[in-house]
Amino acid sequence: MEVDVMKRIPVREQDPKVRATNFDEVCLGYNKEEAMAEATRCLQCKNPRCVQGCPVNIDIPGFIKEVGEDNVAGAYKVISKYSALPAVCGRVCPQESQCESMCVRGIKGDAVSIGKLERYVADTAREQGIKPEPATEKKGKKVAVIGSGPAGLTCAGDLAKLGYDVTIFEALHKAGGVLSYGIPEFRLPKDRVVAAEVENVKALGVKIETNVVIGKATTIDELLNDEGFDAVFVGSGAGLPRFMGIPGENANGVFSANEYLTRSNLMKAFDDKYDTPIIAGKKVAVVGGGNVAMDAARTALRLGAEVHIVYRRSEEELPARVEEVHHAKEEGIVFDLLTNPTEILVDENGSVKGMTCIRMELGEPDESGRRRPVEIAGSEFTLDVDTVIMSLGTSPNPLISSTTKGLEINKRKCIIAEEENGQTTKEGVYAGGDAVTGAATVILAMGAGKAAAKGIDEFLSK
């Protein structure tokens, strides 16, 4: 295979026209030949800057070297030291602003495709049946993990590897957190990738009890005092959706992105065999510009709708990953930028019949450093839509904090925890991931799960 060292080996993708009508994965990933060719582009830097860009500091040149030598098992072993979910991170990490943004290759040409290589290693290891190894020695201590998202799975996996007896309690009927209910199949296959990663964690001896809502079915205090757990990790995420508070928002046809995505991903409403209904909509507006908005938009598109992204700032400020915006455009999503909804118009049956919006322009920078969007007086217009999906962000659910004595939260409703070890204000209780930071990323949640596992081990070894 010929390699131009300045350019990355292109990754095969489903054709945009074809994939706009199915839920199969968009990106097909590297094969062995492509991965080995891409691996030759890595300079094996003595002082690898890419590693600093990765929130969990994966030994990137280390695993890429093994890929170059066609030693997938070796590469998997290197990554496993740092990450419990490489098949997931290789797919959904914002690499362009993390590891790859720091790669020296990126100064003059394309950065090394670190994410795609990581994905190749994880997928190939799975195909070859390579699994992480369970602990041989038991500690004889029990840890409860609340939530089975990336934070919970990672914390549980690491503790199990250290020999702890770990049980995950998950509110929903399926493990995975946002990986199962939020991120769509076409970006993150559920059976092939998410379920397989969950199985890996179980293979380490972790028990997963689904259908248990902590704060309702039992409480943290009961887990510690009556059920014999020695420590608890809270990885309950940030699942509470925000609405805009504009008139008409309770009309039939207005959904939170969480509802829309949950119906489609977790409940598989896109598949006729499943019983949960979903309203596809003919013309859909998705309000917001993050990853979640892109996912909702591309889901509605696949269900047959014409889809508009309505975002109040400009393209440059779109918080979604570049790759996702690019894919969305390729698939035919319309971007109505510098546009903000002011009212949802409702017909006599209570259904959406349109959405009034106002044009915006960018003014002075605000606290976040981004230029503040301001309304252009008199620029209202009506967008002719029958469905509106609100994707305005989420915050942590108060269910756990409100039922646990001594567990303190900040004014953003996030659980207060030390960054280096996850320790909360309550002894024996640790927390991490979106529940602590507010909505963030998979890799940060994973990193927090790892840090907390270490913190819990230190606490229980005292």
């Binding site: 509110a171 009927h173 259908n211 809502v213 309702k216 609405f243 309770n250 509802e259 209904p277 309203i279």
Partner: protein, 292 residues
């Protein structure tokens, strides 16, 4: 898996089941609900906790077959299991959270309609167990479709039945019976109305006029039941509430029933299609081994 230990036909396409679910049974309180998912392909179906036995670890549900999922549920038999059964969800009834001495000072009237009789039963039973006397009206179209009459009679101080066609006891609906009781000189400090939304709406219109604080139990469309999706949102006064975490009970005089009823009908077309498909035998759950 959550095993069905008992199944009983009550009346009017209403079924009762006892489900083995020790964690739920240990913690549930009157006013709360569970979510049942029958199998891999199933939807998440919210149902009120109608009774529980903490010792045996069982929870009683009572459901009416109104569409594809509840019809499929009625085909499950004793010994079979539901894949998922999560709860308790929602908040316990406001009344049982009140200090007992204050509660005993209240004069409470429960008004139930249809399958709504089932969720009222554990509340009235709880009142009886705690020495609080309450009156109950059960409203029904006709005598044959009454449910839980005997059970309710054992726990209510006074049980009144109102039938639309006059086939049993009082002729008229729940609202007519409230007026009738007042005409007889009775009076109440609190009404709890549980039943179809339209019935709760009319009870609230009346009690607002009569100035009797009224609690209703809302049953909007739900998905997760944990506050994650917002499908269950309701306009309550000038606030938006999520019924699954803030409710399901609310101050009935503040609820926007017209909006709630429209939202409840959101999936009518899809649901109609699913029901048809079920009746044609396409989606039988396949657990009984005698497919028809």
């Amino acid at each position: 898996m959550f095993k069905i230990l008992k199944k009983e036909y009550l009346a009017n396409n209403i079924w009762l089941m006892d489900i083995e679910a020790p964690r739920v049974a240990k913690h549930c309180q009157p006013g709360q609900f569970v979510i049942v998912k029958m199998d891999e392909e199933g939807e998440r179906i919210p149902l009120t906790v109608c009774d529980y036995d903490r010792e045996k670890g069982t929870v009683t549900i009572v459901f009416q077959t109104v569409g594809a999922s509840t019809m499929e549920m009625a085909e499950y038999e004793v010994g079979e299991s539901f894949e998922d059964f999560v709860g308790p969800l929602g908040c316990p009834s406001e009344l049982i959270e009140m200090p007992l001495d204050e509660l005993k000072k209240e004069k409470i009237l429960f008004v139930c309609g249809g399958v709504g009789t089932a969720p009222v039963y554990p509340q009235v039973k709880w009142m009886k167990e705690h020495g609080v006397d309450v009156d109950v009206i059960i409203g029904a179209r006709t005598k044959d479709i009454l449910i839980l009459e005997d059970e309710m009679r054992k726990v209510a101080a006074n049980l009144y039945i109102a039938t639309d066609d006059g086939s049993y006891e009082f002729k008229g609906n729940g609202c007519d019976k409230i007026k009738d009781l007042y005409a007889q000189g009775k009076s109440y400090t609190k009404v709890v109305a549980i039943g179809p939304m339209i019935m709760m709406k009319f009870v609230c219109l009346l009690t607002k006029e009569m100035n009797i604080p009224t609690i209703v139990s809302m049953n909007p469309i739900m998905v997760d039941g944990t506050g994650m999706c917002g499908a269950c949102r309701l306009q309550v006064g000038d606030e938006i509430k999520f019924a699954c975490v803030d409710g399901p009970e609310f101050d009935g005089h503040l609820v926007d029933f017209d909006q709630a009823m429209k939202r409840q009908a959101m999936y009518k077309t899809e649901e109609g299609r699913a029901k048809l498909k079920f009746e044609e035998g396409d989606t039988h759950h396949g657990g009984c081994g005698q497919c028809h």
